[in-house]
Structure formats: structure tokens, C-alpha cells
């Protein structure tokens, strides 16, 4: 739905990296390099971003308009 605030395993803050991560991999950068440059060293934190599917945008299309 929306990126979790912290890593499920170790508790490191990951949510504040999502926008940058998403933007950079969409520009064709290698996810491994992006994760390294953001200082996410452990594979528990890396999978938080790598495996996340952000579906909140799809849900928002059904928002009630006022």
C-alpha cells in the first residue's frame, strides 16, 4: 500500500528513502548502486525498498471527489 516507516527486521528508518529510490530506479539506475549510495547496507533494509509495491496511487483514483 504505502512504504513502511521502518525495516521490519532491524527497525531502521526506510520510508524517507522511498521517493528518491523510486525516482532513481525509474531513471534506469541500478538498484544496488542506489541502495549503496543511500547507506542501506543490510539486506533486511534493502528488501524493504526492493520488494515494495506502492499501490496507494491506484487506490487514490477511487477517492471520493467533493
Amino acid at each position: 500500500m504505502i512504504i513502511p516507516i521502518r525495516c521490519f527486521t532491524c527497525g531502521r528508518l526506510v520510508a524517507d528513502r522511498w521517493e528518491e529510490f523510486n525516482r532513481r530506479i525509474r531513471q534506469g539506475e541500478d538498484p544496488a548502486t542506489v541502495l549503496d549510495s543511500m547507506g542501506l547496507k543490510r539486506y533486511c533494509c534493502r528488501r524493504m525498498l526492493l520488494s515494495h509495491v506502492d499501490i496507494i496511487d491506484d487506490i487514490l483514483q477511487f477517492a471520493e471527489r467533493t
Binding site: I2, C10, G11, L13, W18, R42, D57, L60, A63
Partner: protein
């Protein structure tokens, strides 16, 4: 115990801790993880939530946001004069009122207005919810001191790990330069220099013994110190890693003193309470404004898993 700092940044600390037993260093590790208090949002009052996320999800997300903690200002609310009700001595308030100006607007921790400028989220870029144009979120939140044992949101470290100091030796007389250890070691401990394997990064070794098993001529010996450790602390940002270490040792000492008083034949020693630093008066909580279209119900959502929740939706 001998402590040498090897590497230090804002949020990480690597130290060499020598002459301690593994049991002691593990006790310190567990105390730092589970019993060193930090501030985290514990109570959320949802006045309005039009986002696609449930009230509980928003409360949970807010709870997990690491907050900068200042020990001199707050007391644990169960020890407070208000007896756990919540007052300016034991809790810090936040308010958030957003209305999305366009589709896909992200309400972040930057929209969370703190009452105490010293208790703030570690980053103002943490997304709380994504909104469609015109959707509103109006909430009040209260942070309290707590420990990781009760909920992981109060854990001050994301890593507190230690390892025994490794020693890797290559017998250059035996080494035939087959290069296999360089290839098999995933920690880049070896390098080839003049057709011989040389140890270049001993500290990085994880004691996996792969190189020893691979070397056909038994040229490599891997050993470790039993009582010397490399300790790595990574803070969530709530407190500097050195403060977490100091505070952890503090908690450990208090437990130890308490244990001694429980031994048979000992008279419990009454330690005089340290006078608490006087807290500067906080601006009074702004009176809640009555919304023109009054929200149907006011939902109070505790973020801790064990608390009762009243559902709105």
C-alpha cells in the same frame, strides 16, 4: 574493560571493547535494544481522516517515526506526578492539519507541528499518507518515553551487534598462489601480492572458515579472541549512539544495584533521588477549535499493539 572508538558518524559508532566476557557484552547489547528509553508517539487523536489509509494505520505509522529524545525534559509517565494521565512533564504533543492541494500530495512528518521544538521527527521527509486533491487529515498526537521491550518503536538502535575480534594468518611458505581464497572470501579479506595471498582487511572477516576449507595446502589459519569484541551501534536517530551506550550502561548499573539489595541479609540501600532538571514551561496546548462541520466521531487510537482501539470505519 577497555574501549577504543574505531569509527564514528552521526548515527553509527564502531568500537573495540576489550577484556569483557561475552555474557556481559550481550547483557549490555540487550539492554540497549530493549530497555533504553526513547520518545515515540503513543496516543493519536484522529479528528478527521479522509485518506485511503485506516485511522489505525496512520496511528501506527506515526508511532514508528523516530523522534529526537531529550532525557532532561521528560519522565516516564507511570512515574510522573500525573500518575500516567499525561501532562507536560511526561508527554510531548504534535498537531497535523493538511488538505491536499493536488492529487498525489504526500503528507509527511514535515506537516507534523511539534509543541516542544526539541522533540521532533528525525526526518521531515517521512511519508505518513498520500492524498487525493481536497482530502484532509487532522490529528493530534502525543509522544511519551518508553522502552523497546514494550514496543519496537521505542528501540533506540536499529543495530547493536558485536563480534569477536578475528585473526587471519597466511603461511607464505605453504601458499602456492592458487588464488582460491581471494575468490571464496566474500568479505575481501585477501589480496594477491607477488603470487602470495596476503591479509589486507582482517577486521572484516566473519569467521566463516570458508578460506580454511578451500585452501588445499592448509596455509590459512583463522582464529578469534574470546574476550575482545568489535561493537557496532547504529542509532535510529533518536539519540546519538554514544548516548545510547552510556544510558544502556546506566540502566545496567541500576539493575545490578537492585539485584544486590535483594540478596538475603542485605538491607535495601535507599539511594537519594537525583533532583530532576527543572523543565521550562511549555506553551499551553491550543484549545481545540470546533470544526464547522463537526467530525462525526473523535477516534482515540493508541498505537501500541496491546491497547484497545475504538473503530471509526
Amino acid at each position: 574493560m577497555k574501549v577504543t572508538v574505531l569509527e564514528q558518524t552521526d548515527n553509527t559508532l564502531q568500537m573495540r571493547v576489550e577484556e569483557v566476557r561475552p555474557g556481559l557484552i550481550n547483557a549490555i547489547r540487550r539492554i540497549m535494544l530493549a530497555e533504553t528509553p526513547t520518545m515515540a508517539i503513543e496516543e493519536v487523536v484522529i479528528l478527521e481522516n479522509q485518506s485511503p489509509l485506516f485511522d489505525e494505520i496512520i496511528a501506527h505509522r506515526l508511532g514508528l517515526v523516530p523522534l529526537k529524545t531529550n532525557y532532561d525534559q521528560y519522565v516516564v509517565s507511570s512515574d510522573c506526578t500525573c500518575e500516567g494521565v499525561g501532562c507536560h512533564l511526561c508527554q510531548a504533543g504534535f498537531t497535523m492539519e493538511v488538505e491536499a492541494p493536488e492529487d498525489g500530495f504526500i503528507a509527511t512528518t514535515g506537516d507534523l507541528k511539534p509543541q516542544d521544538p526539541e522533540v521532533v521527527p528525525v526526518s521531515d521527509k517521512i511519508p505518513i499518507a498520500k492524498l487525493a486533491k481536497g482530502q484532509r487529515i487532522v490529528i493530534e498526537a502525543y509522544a511519551r518515553l518508553g522502552i523497546g521491550q514494550d514496543h519496537a518503536k521505542w528501540q533506540p538502535v536499529s543495530t547493536m551487534a558485536y563480534k569477536m575480534i578475528p585473526h587471519v594468518k597466511v603461511d607464505t611458505n605453504k601458499c602456492d598462489g592458487c588464488k582460491e581464497c581471494v575468490e571464496v572470501c566474500f568479505r575481501q579479506v585477501f589480496e594477491m601480492q607477488k603470487d602470495k595471498a596476503v591479509v589486507v582487511d582482517e577486521k572484516n572477516c566473519t569467521l566463516c572458515n570458508l578460506c580454511v576449507e578451500t585452501c588445499d595446502v592448509q596455509a590459512i589459519a583463522v582464529s578469534h579472541d574470546e574476550n575482545n569484541f568489535i561493537v557496532t551501534i547504529e542509532s535510529t536517530g533518536a539519540l546519538p549512539p554514544m548516548t545510547i551506550f552510556e544510558k544502556g550502561l546506566d540502566v545496567f548499573r541500576k539493575k545490578y544495584e537492585e539485584l544486590i539489595t535483594l540478596l538475603p541479609g542485605r538491607v535495601p540501600k535507599v539511594t537519594p533521588k537525583k533532583p530532576r532538571a527543572k523543565k521550562k514551561a511549555l506553551p499551553k496546548k491550543p484549545k481545540k477549535k470546533k470544526e464547522p462541520k463537526a467530525p462525526a466521531s473523535k477516534t482515540k487510537t493508541k498505537t501500541a499493539s496491546k491497547s484497545k482501539t475504538k473503530k471509526k470505519k
